[in-house]
């Protein structure tokens, strides 16, 4: 016979991620999405070959493919910076601590 209070599955489902873990995941993922869009927009308008010409054939930019990749990681880095700051500001906001509505004070659903 079963009883609900002995049901491990229900408990599994309600185990939340730690705040740090959620922050890292959300920051990484949301900045990844934004970096994809930024890369698409930027390189639709600007040919990496043009940058290579303008920068006088730098060693670190040997080809278009390198241009796309470096551009993508540049945008990812920048947007991850903005997202981390946002996450940090929200996590440490006084309102959240006072009202207990921050994730640290949130109850499992």
């Amino acid at each position: 016979m079963n009883s609900t209070d002995d049901n491990s599955d229900l408990r599994e489902a309600s185990t939340p991620w730690s705040r740090l873990r959620e922050d890292v995941a959300v920051v990484t993922w949301s900045s990844f999405l934004v970096a994809c869009i930024a890369t698409m927009l930027f390189f639709a308008l600007i040919d990496p070959d043009y940058l290579i010409d303008v920068l006088n054939h730098p060693r670190w930019l040997p080809s278009r493919m390198a241009g796309y990749a470096l551009g993508f990681f540049f945008f990812w880095f920048i947007s991850a910076g903005a997202a981390s700051l946002t996450a940090y500001m929200l996590d440490t906001s006084r309102e959240h601590f006072r009202s207990g509505s921050g994730r640290s004070g949130q109850d499992a659903p």
Partner: protein
């Protein structure tokens, strides 16, 4: 049928806020919706893995050739300048998602999202190597043995090779896949191709093998805003509270209704089947990806108990409350008409787009040059972009400059299908009465099809 839950992971329950996420072992289910999802998985992944190899007019049918900055879609050639079409297409895709969500809820999540589809395949492989739910739980808690080692190795081998093949296919949409395959066979892929194969392979492995439902719960933006498209007539997966409660276990053949029990026998199979680990009986939750695994699980139990199916079923808030369903309602009508408008516009724009494009750049070094015969000469670089499916010969002419002579590098400029021809062009004219800059128009015409014509505005400079 009572299934007692004797999972062995009961004791690792230190429910601190910083507890690591506990692994969910979704129970395998059979049923109508499971079949539908399997079909969806096969069709969608089949399309993904095979389309890359499809040929069209000698070209790879779909190829976003990033090294060459040309995009081939079934015989049509696009250039980065056509980015507008891609944006438009993405807007259409987003609106389609809104429309489908308003009508049928999270169908996308349950059946079509890459996260779900790839996770399904990874779970299938896991089952192949490690067995069913209880066997997997047991294996994970057992000490290392030869049996555990080879099963885990087998699983990882399948996962890793499938991930890498996925990465390879993905990169094959951006660099010609046949060429990539040959390079791969001879270990001569370029550094960036290699990098992206591993990057995308790693992303597949991480998302489908490791993160799974956590992507939906913690990282997916759509999961958070889909409720904005929901209303009382949106299709959801719902537990029939009135019919099921009070839930409870019961002996076979007993008149449970006389004992005051509802139809739910509290076997918790719906919870065990759930890939996100929620209890649908608690009502609609944002973690629910509408995969309908709980429906299949419950229907099977209802069949065994000889109760009618549908204790957990696709329904709407309105229907559960006993009201008639409405598919046609302002929200869906607005989404639908917007969608039709956008799709119609897109179809028109794509069939009526200019097949030839002209970019004119003035020579940056000098404004003009005075020739010995008294003429003035301006120099330009002209790019003719042929987006047609066949090659053309083009001729240039000038408008708005009465006695101009076009002196092009080549009198006839040849451009292959989907190619760009670049030429230096000198335009000579008698000095104009007024010095300074004048607006002129350079016109390009295909010799074999004069209607294939376009022009570009530029400036002609003359001495004061």
């Amino acid at each position: 049928m009572n299934t007692s839950i004797n999972d062995q992971n009961n004791n690792n329950n230190d429910d601190s806020l910083y507890a690591a996420h506990q692994k969910i072992y979704p129970r395998e289910v059979q049923g109508r919706y499971r079949h539908l999802r399997t079909i969806a998985t096969i069709v969608l992944l089949g399309l993904f893995y095979s389309t890359a190899w499809l040929k069209w007019n000698g070209h790879q049918a779909i190829l976003f050739d990033l090294p060459a900055r040309k995009f081939y879609v079934f015989g049509m050639t696009f250039l980065p300048q056509d980015f507008f079409f891609l944006t438009w297409l993405l807007v259409i895709a987003a609106l389609t998602l809104f429309f489908v969500t308003a009508v049928a809820g999270r169908l996308w999540c349950g059946y079509a999202c890459p996260q779900t589809v790839w996770t399904d395949v990874f779970v299938w492989m896991e089952r192949l190597a490690e067995g069913k739910r209880q066997q997997r739980i047991k294996l994970d808690h057992a000490p290392w043995s030869f049996n555990k080692l080879w099963r885990k190795t087998f699983k990882q081998a399948m996962w890793i090779s499938f991930s890498l093949y996925t990465g390879f296919t993905f990169v094959g949409y951006f660099t010609p896949i046949r060429q990539l395959f040959n390079e791969l066979m001879s270990f001569s892929t370029g550094p960036w191709e290699t990098f992206w194969v591993f990057f995308y392979g790693f992303a597949t492995y991480g998302n489908a093998g490791f993160l799974r439902e956590q992507v939906c719960k913690y990282m997916c933006p759509y999961a958070r805003f889909q409720s904005a498209m929901f209303d009382r007539h949106t299709l959801i997966i719902a537990y029939d509270n009135a019919r099921g409660e009070p839930r409870g276990s019961r002996g076979r053949g007993l008149d449970y209704k006389a004992e005051g029990l509802g139809d739910c026998i509290d076997c918790t199979l719906c919870v065990q089947a759930c890939p996100t680990g929620i209890d649908i009986r608690k009502g609609l939750q944002y973690e629910c990806i509408a995969c309908a695994a709980c429906i299949d699980a419950c229907d099977a139990v209802m069949d065994k108990m000889n109760y009618p199916r549908g204790l957990v079923r696709y329904s709407t808030q309105a229907a559960i409350e006993g009201n008639a369903p409405h598919v046609l309602r302002p929200r869906t009508l607005i989404y639908a008409s917007l969608l039709l408008l956008l799709i119609g516009g897109f179809a028109y724009a794509i069939t009526h787009r200019d097949l030839v494009q002209l970019d004119v750049l003035r020579d940056r070094k000098s404004l003009y040059r005075e020739l010995s015969n008294g003429h003035v000469e301006n120099v330009y670089t002209v790019h003719i972009i042929n987006k047609d499916t066949r090659p053309h010969d083009f001729r240039l002419s000038v408008e708005q400059l009465p006695d101009a002579v076009v002196d092009s590098e080549r009198a006839v400029i040849h451009a292959e299908a989907g190619d760009v021809a670049s030429v230096a062009v000198r335009i000579n004219s008698l000095p104009l009465e007024q010095g300074g800059g004048h607006d002129i128009r350079i016109v390009v015409t295909a010799i074999d099809t004069p209607q294939l014509q376009t022009d570009s505005k530029t400036r002609f400079f003359s001495p004061d």
